[in-house]
Structure formats: C-alpha cells, structure tokens
C-alpha cells in the first residue's frame, strides 16, 4: 500500500430528502430532551396510570361476565344478593351497550385526559428551554438557517419534537387504554359501542398536544435564557390559571384567560359528559333517580361559561394566533 496523505476528498453521493433532514432535527431534539430523568419520570406516570385504568376496565369486565373467575369469587364470598346485583347490571349493559360502554369509556378517558393535560404541562416546563431558547442563546439558529433548510423546516423539526413527546404522554396512552381494554373485555362487540369514545379521546389528545406544542414553541422562542423560558411557561400555565380563576368570579368568560383552562374546557366539551348523563337519564331505567341525588360536577362546569363550548375554542384560537405570530417574528429576526 502506498502512503496516502489525509487530504481533502470530495463527497459524491445523493443527498437526503427534506423530510429526512427535518427528521434529523426532530430525532436529535428528542434525544436531548429525553436525557432528563424527570421527563422520563413523567412518561412513567402517564403509562402507569394508563395501565391502571386498563386494569380497572378489566376488573369491571370480569365482574360482569357470568362465567368469569372473579364473578364466581364474588358470588361465593358475598352471597346471592351480590350475585343478583351483578347479574342485573350485566343484563342492563347487554340491553343498552351503546350507552353504558360508551359512557364508561368517556368517563374514565376524560378523567385520564385531564390528568394528562397536567402531565403535559409539567413535561413542557421541563423541556421548553431546549426547544428554541438554547438555539437563540447559542446562535445555533444561524447554523440551521445557513444549511439547506428554511425557517419552516426548522420549525417543523422543532414542532415534531414537542408533538411526539407530548403525543407519547397523552395520545398514545389514551389509544392504548381503549384498545387494551377492548381486547381484554368479555365481549368484542364492545369495539363498536365504544368507538365514539375513542374518537373523542383522540380529538381531545390531538387538540391538546397541538395547542401545547404551539404554545411551548412560542414560549421557547420568546426567552433567550433557559431559566427565563421555564419561568415564562410556568407563568403561562399556573399564574394565568389563578388569574383566570379570580377573573371568572367577575367576568363570565374570565376562566378563558388561561390557555390551559381553555384546553381543559375543550377537553371536557369533547367528552361531553353531560351528554352521557342525559342520554343515560333518558333511556336507562333507575338512572334518573340515581342522578337526582348526584349533581354532576362536569355538567356544572360546562354550563358556567356563556356561549357553551365555543368560548374556550375562540380564546384558544386567539392564543394560538398570537403564538404563531410571536414565533414567526422571533425566528425571522435572527
């Protein structure tokens, strides 16, 4: 072999597509964010709670199927009376599956969603500086923009990071709960009866993750220092929450001053628990008397905002518009 100097060599090859380059930005950003142990902790909480809801659904399913070990265990332990109640409930569900199965899913998934909104907010607080703020303070944006990328490509990559991370905390566990519960349920025809619950959950998940992603990018692009970005997010999340709470006593639409509150309202609206109660009251026997003694908290919350579910949607659209303007301005100024 002859001696070869390590001189400059040209690269001859076909370059990757723009989607591949966006994916590069996204995958690096995700690796960077997932280095945080706290964030991994939040993921664990989200999935453990999803698993416990699945387990809860499984227990209920086992209680209600006549030939399951659990049902016979209940019958043996608590006697005939318990067995009779269970049989009654089973018959009730088999008579009105479209209301009861759907209702159960809607209630558990909506509770889970509200937990996930909080978890998502926590997660964003952990990784928000790593999105754009750090690029602003180290002038990495200059490097990105001088490469074969546009500002849109850069934002698409960054958006992908938040969307995938939050999707992993909210959308994926919700879908998992629904599928796993159905697979473990005694009757697979419940797939059809619970389908609208899945659609509602996915809609709530996508809307929440989408909005939080845009808000997170906006907050991240407004602050140069890591601490400032986290602080700004916490202000947006908690402080506006308190302000909105206080304002709601004076103004009917005060609650909508906080974007996170808006998201919660929209989630509640999408699951429409009041609708569940009303259809249950209308078609299920015994249910009306049961409901009279239990005033539904969810129903009260929805009624308190004038204009129904549309007010939070309007406010949310406003917040998103402002965010997009802010991102645009900050990124193009670099």
């Amino acid at each position: 072999m002859s001696i070869r100097a390590h001189d400059y060599e040209h690269w001859r090859g076909t370059s990757t597509s723009i989607w591949r380059r966006r994916w590069t930005i996204m995958s690096y950003g995700m690796r960077l964010c997932l280095r945080s142990k706290l964030l991994r902790g939040i993921f664990a909480i989200a999935w453990v709670s999803a698993l416990s809801v699945v387990a809860f659904h499984f227990l209920i399913g086992q209680l209600l199927s006549t030939d399951s070990a659990l049902a016979s265990f209940v019958a043996n332990t608590f006697g005939r009376k318990a067995k009779a109640i269970l049989d009654g409930v089973t018959a009730w569900i088999l008579l009105y599956p479209e209301i009861t199965v759907d209702g159960l899913f809607r209630i558990t998934l909506s509770l889970l969603s509200l937990l996930y909104v909080t978890l998502c907010c926590l997660a964003v607080a952990l990784f928000v500086p790593k999105l754009i703020s750090q690029d602003l303070s180290s002038r990495a944006i200059l490097i990105y923009n001088s490469k074969a990328l546009t500002r849109t490509d850069y934002l698409a990559g960054k958006f992908g990071i938040v969307f995938v991370l939050l999707g992993g905390i909210m959308i994926a566990p919700l879908a998992f709960v629904w599928f796993a519960s159905n697979i473990l349920s005694p009757d697979w025809s419940f797939f059809w009866h619970g389908f609208s619950a899945l659609l509602r959950a996915m809609a709530a998940g996508v809307v929440t993750v989408l909005c939080l992603s845009v808000l997170a990018l906006a907050v991240s692009s407004l602050a140069r220092k890591s601490g400032a970005a986290t602080a700004l997010w916490i202000v947006l999340w908690l402080v506006t929450g308190f302000v909105a709470e206080a304002a709601s006593r004076v103004l009917p639409w005060g609650r909508c001053l906080s974007p996170i509150n808006c998201l919660r309202e929209v989630t509640r609206g999408l699951f429409d628990l009041r609708g569940v109660m009303e259809s249950a009251r209308a078609s299920l026997p015994f249910f009306e008397s049961l409901l009279k003694s239990l005033p539904s908290k969810a129903a009260v919350a929805v009624e308190s905002v004038p204009g129904g579910a549309w007010m939070p949607v309007l406010f949310l659209a406003g917040f998103l518009g402002i965010s997009i303007l802010a991102i645009n301005k900050r990124i193009s100024n670099e």
Binding site: H6, D7, Y8, E9, H10, W11, G13, S15, T16, I18, R20, R21, T24, I25, Y28, L32, R35, K130, Q134, D135, S137, S138, R139, A140, L142, I143, Y144, N145, S146, K147, A148, L149, T150, D153, S332, E334
Partner: protein, 308 residues
C-alpha cells in the same frame, strides 16, 4: 467558468440605515477577500446571499442558481462560518459536525465519516469528543470551518475567521483557508479586517464602503496600479542612505519602526538591488509595497467618503 456569485441591484435597508445599496457583482471562482470598514455591509451582503436576511430589492444568484427560487438547493452547495460564536448546545465536536452534515443532506453514515475527515483537515485531535461549549477560541474557529465545509460545498463564506486568536492560531487558520481552495477547489469568500491576511490568501478583492462596491478586481491588478514603493531595513547608516536615494531622484523617509520607505517608481526591485549592490549596502530585508493593499483600501474608502 460561470460566476459563483452574481448580484443585480441588491439592496437592503435597516430602518434609516442603507446597509446595501444596489450591489452589482460578478465574481469568478477562487479566493475572494471581502473588505470594508465597520458597517460597510460585508456581513449583511453574506447574510443576504444566504437568505439569513431578506434583501429588499434586486436579485442574486449563487453558483448559477437564483437564491429566491432555489434557496434551499443553493445552500446545499454553500458553506458558512459566521463571525459570531455559535454552536448547537449539548453536542460534542464530532457529533456537532456530523449533525451539520446531516442537516445539509448527507446520510448518517457518510456524515459521520466526513465529519471525522474534516476534523482531521482542520487539525482537531481528541478535543472532538468534548462538548463544543468548552472549546477555546481557536478550537471554536476551527470547528466553525469544519462545519462549513463538511457537506463538500462549492463555495464557502468565512466571516472574520481569525478574530480573537493569538498569532499562532491566526497562522494556522490562514494556512487552513489557503488549503481549502488549493486542495479542494472550493471557492472561499473571506471577510476580514486584517488586510495582511487577505493579502496572503486572496486573489480577488472586493471592497465595500457605505453599502456599495467600491473596488472589485484581482489583487495583482490592484498592486500594479499603486505607485511602486519599497521598504528596507539596514543595520546602520540611515541618513547617508536617504541622502543617496534622494541624489538618485527617489524620495524616502524613515518610519517609526526603523525602516526606510523609498518611492522608486520601478516595476521590480532589481534596479534598487543593483543600486544598493554598487554601494556595497546589504539591507537586512527589502520588500516591494508591503502595505499596498492597506494603502489601496484606505484610498478607496476615502474616495468613497468624499463623493457621497
């Protein structure tokens, strides 16, 4: 050969400040020195060509492609090392350069390979496994150059690459920049305040002042246009020598650094050397027009100032 940079009426305004004023340029491949006083628009021109700033009016094309129509594709073939200190946080040197190569469209395997090749090229050893944030100024300048050429561009913009370095670092970076064109055929646009550096490396000179192109020519041509002077340094006998020069019709003066500056009006130094040889005077050193570029620069910028 097609021009690497072509602009027509390129203008850019920041508030009341006209940063670029109808720039018309047609630059051939090679090494180009981009000069000008502070605020003359050097960085703005580079930023506009890379679409980091949007130009107000005018058109520009790099490597024969219009930047407005094909911005992304053009930047695939162009590299840029900004003046400011910049890096992507949380990355080790080789990871950073690999990432930059991927952003420019190299597949991961090729990117990784080329990143290490370029780090060798800029002379970085084990430091490449350390976080970029922890680098010294010299290392940061080197890695900026590595990331600018890692995707094998055809044209690279280097904005003040020797800023903040000590003389050893400056010499190394300059040597490196000279090699980029010589060994790889990548055209280099070097923006610098250090005229001797530009003198050493660049074949073409573009001088900007107040957002306009004042001079664009080959360095050789510019030097030919100057009145020939020489600077020489002798051990002793300075007054006698000045006297001898003036008898020969050459005006000369003693500079603050102890050298004598002679306006001899000849094309080469040979007549001067013969003149000194006859008198058995052997100067320690003698240079033809050592500050030609600097003098030319000052002249050009002053002329521009006189005619607004």
């Amino acid at each position: 050969m097609p021009p690497i940079i072509e602009t027509q009426g390129l203008s850019k305004r920041f508030g009341s400040h006209q940063a670029l004023d109808r720039i018309d340029l047609r630059i051939e491949p090679g090494t180009i020195g981009l000069l000008g006083p502070n605020g003359a628009g050097k960085s703005t021109l580079i930023r506009c060509l890379l679409q980091l700033d949007e130009n107000d009016t005018g058109r520009a094309s790099l490597l024969g492609q219009d930047i407005d129509a094909h911005g992304r594709e053009v930047r695939k073939r162009v590299g840029y090392a900004p003046e400011q200190d910049c890096h992507i946080p949380g990355m080790a040197g080789c990871e950073y350069v690999t990432y930059c190569a991927q952003l420019s469209g190299l597949p991961f395997a090729a990117a990784r390979q080329r990143a290490h090749e370029m780090l060798d090229f800029v002379g970085m050893g084990q430091e490449r496994y350390r976080l970029v944030e922890t680098y010294s100024t010299g290392m940061k300048q080197r890695i900026k150059i590595a990331q600018a050429i890692v995707h094998d561009p055809e044209l690279v913009f280097l904005d003040e690459p020797t800023n903040g370095l000590d003389p050893e670092g400056q010499a190394h970076i300059l040597d490196l920049i000279g090699r980029i064109w010589k060994e790889s055929g990548i055209s280099v646009v070097l923006s610098s305040h250090l005229l001797p550096d530009v003198d050493r490396i660049c074949e073409q000179i573009v001088i900007l002042a107040r957002g306009r192109v004042v001079v664009h020519d080959r360095l050789q041509e510019l030097k030919r246009r100057r009145q020939p002077v020489a600077e020489l340094s002798v051990q002793a006998g300075v007054p006698e020598l000045i006297e001898a020069f003036s008898r020969n019709g050459w005006s000369s003066e003693l500079l603050s650094n102890g050298r004598i500056r002679v306006a001899h009006g000849q094309e080469s130094l040979n007549p001067m050397i013969a003149f000194l040889g006859e008198r058995r005077i052997a100067p320690i050193e003698i240079k033809a027009s050592p500050n030609a570029l600097q003098e030319f620069f000052l002249q050009a910028v002053r002329d521009q100032g006189a005619t607004p």
